[in-house]
Amino acid sequence: MSRSLVVPAIALLFTVIVLVDFVMGIGVLWYLYAVLQILMVPFELMTTATAPMVAVLGGWKWIVYLALLCVGGYGFRAVGQRLTKNRPFYRDMPFSVALGYVFAATLIVVVLLNYSRSFSTLGGMPDSYFFFRSALHFLVLSSVAAVLFRQFGCMVGTASTRKLFRQMPATASFGILIIICYAIAAIFAPMIAPHGQETIFPRANIIPLVPEAMGGDPAFPLGTDQIGRDILSRLIYGAQNTVGIAFVTTVLAFFLGVTGGFLAAVLRGWVDQVLSRLVDVLMAIPALIFSLLLITAASSLFSGTGLTWAMIVIIAVIDSTRVFRLSRAVGMNIVVMDYIEASRLRGEGVGYMIFREILPNATAPLLAEFGLRFCFVFLTIAALSFLGLGIQPPLADWGTMVKDLGQFVNYAAFLPQYAMLPLLPAGAIALLTVAVNFVVDWMLQRSSGLKE
């Protein structure tokens, strides 16, 4: 490309940047406005419930709110400076930070206000604050549980585990706590669950979480689904099936990927070339799309449980390509070390070098990758099951449950207990992946010493 072509190209690029900046300005305003709108909606449930979004967009009150917020931020800083006689904290505070403090304070006040209101409507029929209250309870309880768990970890165990817990952020201890709970539910599912996962009871659609007079049943605390299966039991068995299958798939993917990656790193030459190009080709197609394609092909051969097994193998192969990339890179770094050279000179075989020399030195990155890979596999399987193409009935599985219970969302306005049903399995999936991600985040930060 000649110089004369490059200049207009750069000019074009900068025009794009200016445009993006302009849109970004509008975007930030729009975002603030949307947040404010959402905050204010509970106060004006009556008007927004009747008028659709057009009416909401027409309101100009958000400018007043924004102005109030700005005045609040300015006032907060000024008062702080006066009261503390210009302490550096207030003196050097940028306006945006002051704005942030006032915004956060407003947020907390709105949340507390809504929480106190939520009890006054309890007598009425539709409990419109049900989700708000449940979410807040869950948030507070889980934070308390995480902190308590960390304290517990600081007191028992050996000196090294105590030190580990002392340095752990609350998010990581929350993650570990959740993972332990899921593991217990998955392993002891038949003992914990009150009923079987496939047992069909005569009464379908029992309303969850309400007394018997309102259509509930104490024997089925979370109610029954459309054909009369106990939802609580299916949720617990779901931990066994969904998490178990995702775990098996991840282990298989790791076995394939790590073996291939280390072989490529040790043998180099044509083995490396062939494997790497193969992986490049497989990675050119997005994972979910490719697995859907392969499942179409497999569905003409298998059905029922056979299809579930086929799905496990398909997802393991697709995900092993990502593992291959990482383990090859890690292996390449280790292979050039002197101790590998020494073992080569001793005349050790490929198997010895992979399992006794490379693997022990690659555990930290591989462990973190295992956590992340598990999340991806888990989410892919859940998405496939949600589409009806993953884990096949009669196994209870969270993705399929979300699909089956999905229509209950439409009851949210007058029977929020019903609307909660599809959110339970979906939330169970989200909670586990969040927990694993928290733990992996902490592990990565610890091992790499990322202090920023």
Binding site: M1, S2, V6, A9, L13, I17, V20, V23, M24, I26, G27, V28, Y31, V41, L45, T48, A49, P52, M53, V97, G100, F131, V281, A284, I285, P286, A287, L288, I289, L292, L293, I295, T296, A297, S299, S300, L379, A382, A383, F386, L387, G388, L389, V402, G406, V409, N410, Y411, A412, A413, A419, L423, A426, G427, I429, A430, V434, N437, F438, E452
Partner: protein, 331 residues
């Protein structure tokens, strides 16, 4: 030849090669496996003669390579064939003279719908995530950064359908601001179209924003640690000036990369979200075709998704080469 032009041409050639290989993989994955799709078209009660006739009709009896090149040739000339469900309909009606709707006509409006959804998502998500990412990088370690970190990590980890149902629950059912079913039609005016498609777009925005924000934050932090930024600070210019004049021009390449990678991520996210909201796009068609084992449709949809993915990655590659001053001005 100028090195930028050379590298760009190399990447383009590589991209075309990748597309050809991807088309081969897609064709081979479905066609090399045993299993009789002629039987699938006609159903269980078909006579062997009818199955054989259909096999000859679709060309299932030809050797694999001939079928592949036939398919590829037809694709290039814009003929995507006829779906099995259309053929089943035709054989069910028992006539040769029934007008078959080709896949091209089935896909074209849906392709436009999917592009519309992805575009709407990008318009909302890109500015928000870049702004939040830069802010989080500037105030890293603050309460804002930590809250942004926890929120984005949670929304990345949640499956798309969880976010979709939560948004439906609040925005569509409880507060009734938005429609819960995104059934757009071709004759809708633009504003109504945006309004109808806003809920799926918001769901996708949540997922994509989280990814994009984290990647932007990492890129900016990486940049702010470099010596010339420190030099600019030591010179005493204001933080805004440091960002706008020194950091942003150099952050261009990573930011372009981040945006393109996440638009590529949209390609997969769109499938589940379209199904949740019954949005008439390619993702929905794809899942329906997979369920009914409609091989021609599955192949085409898969190819469209894969090409979008490959092309976006290619664009990111080329744009970041173009925005790299070291490549533009070789010594």
């Amino acid at each position: 030849m100028h090195p930028v032009l050379r590298i760009t041409l190399q990447r383009l050639a590589l991209g075309v090669l990748t597309l050809v290989i991807v088309s081969f993989v897609i064709f081979a994955a479905v066609n090399l496996l045993p299993g009789d799709f002629a039987q699938a078209i006609l159903g269980q009660g078909a006579t062997p003669e009818a199955v054989e006739a259909i096999r000859n009709d679709i060309g299932l009896n030809d050797p694999f390579w001939i079928r592949y090149f036939d398919w590829l040739g037809a694709l290039v000339s814009g003929d995507l064939g006829v779906s099995y469900s259309q053929m089943m309909f035709a054989t069910g009606m028992g006539g040769e003279d029934i007008q078959l709707i080709p896949i091209t006509e089935q896909i074209a409006p849906r392709f436009y719908n999917t592009m519309f959804l992805a575009g709407l998502t990008a318009i909302i998500a890109v500015p928000i995530s870049l702004a939040v990412g830069v802010l989080a990088a500037l105030y890293r370690g603050s309460a804002f950064d930590r809250i942004a970190n926890i929120t984005t990590l949670s929304s990345i980890s949640s499956p798309e359908f969880f976010l979709a149902y939560v948004l439906t629950l609040f925005l569509a059912v409880q507060w009734q601001i938005l429609p819960s079913l995104a059934s757009v039609t071709p004759e809708m005016p633009l504003f109504e179209r945006i309004y109808t498609a806003l809920l799926p777009a918001l769901t996708l925005t949540l997922v994509v924003t989280a990814h994009m924000m984290r990647m932007t934050r990492a890129a900016i932090i990486n940049l702010l640690a470099s010596p010339y930024i420190e030099m600019a600070r030591l010179k005493g210019i204001s933080p805004i000036q440091v960002i706008v004049k020194h950091a942003l021009p150099n952050a261009l390449a990573p930011i372009i990369n981040v945006v393109a990678l996440n638009l590529a991520y949209l390609v997969t996210g769109v499938v589940v979200v379209e199904v949740v909201f019954a949005y008439p796009g390619i993702g929905n068609l794809f899942v329906d075709a997979v369920r009914s084992r409609d091989i021609p449709v599955v192949q085409i949809c898969c190819l469209i998704f894969a090409s979008a993915y490959v092309l976006l990655n290619l664009t990111a590659d080329i744009l970041s080469i173009l925005s790299n001053p070291r490549l533009r001005h070789p010594k």
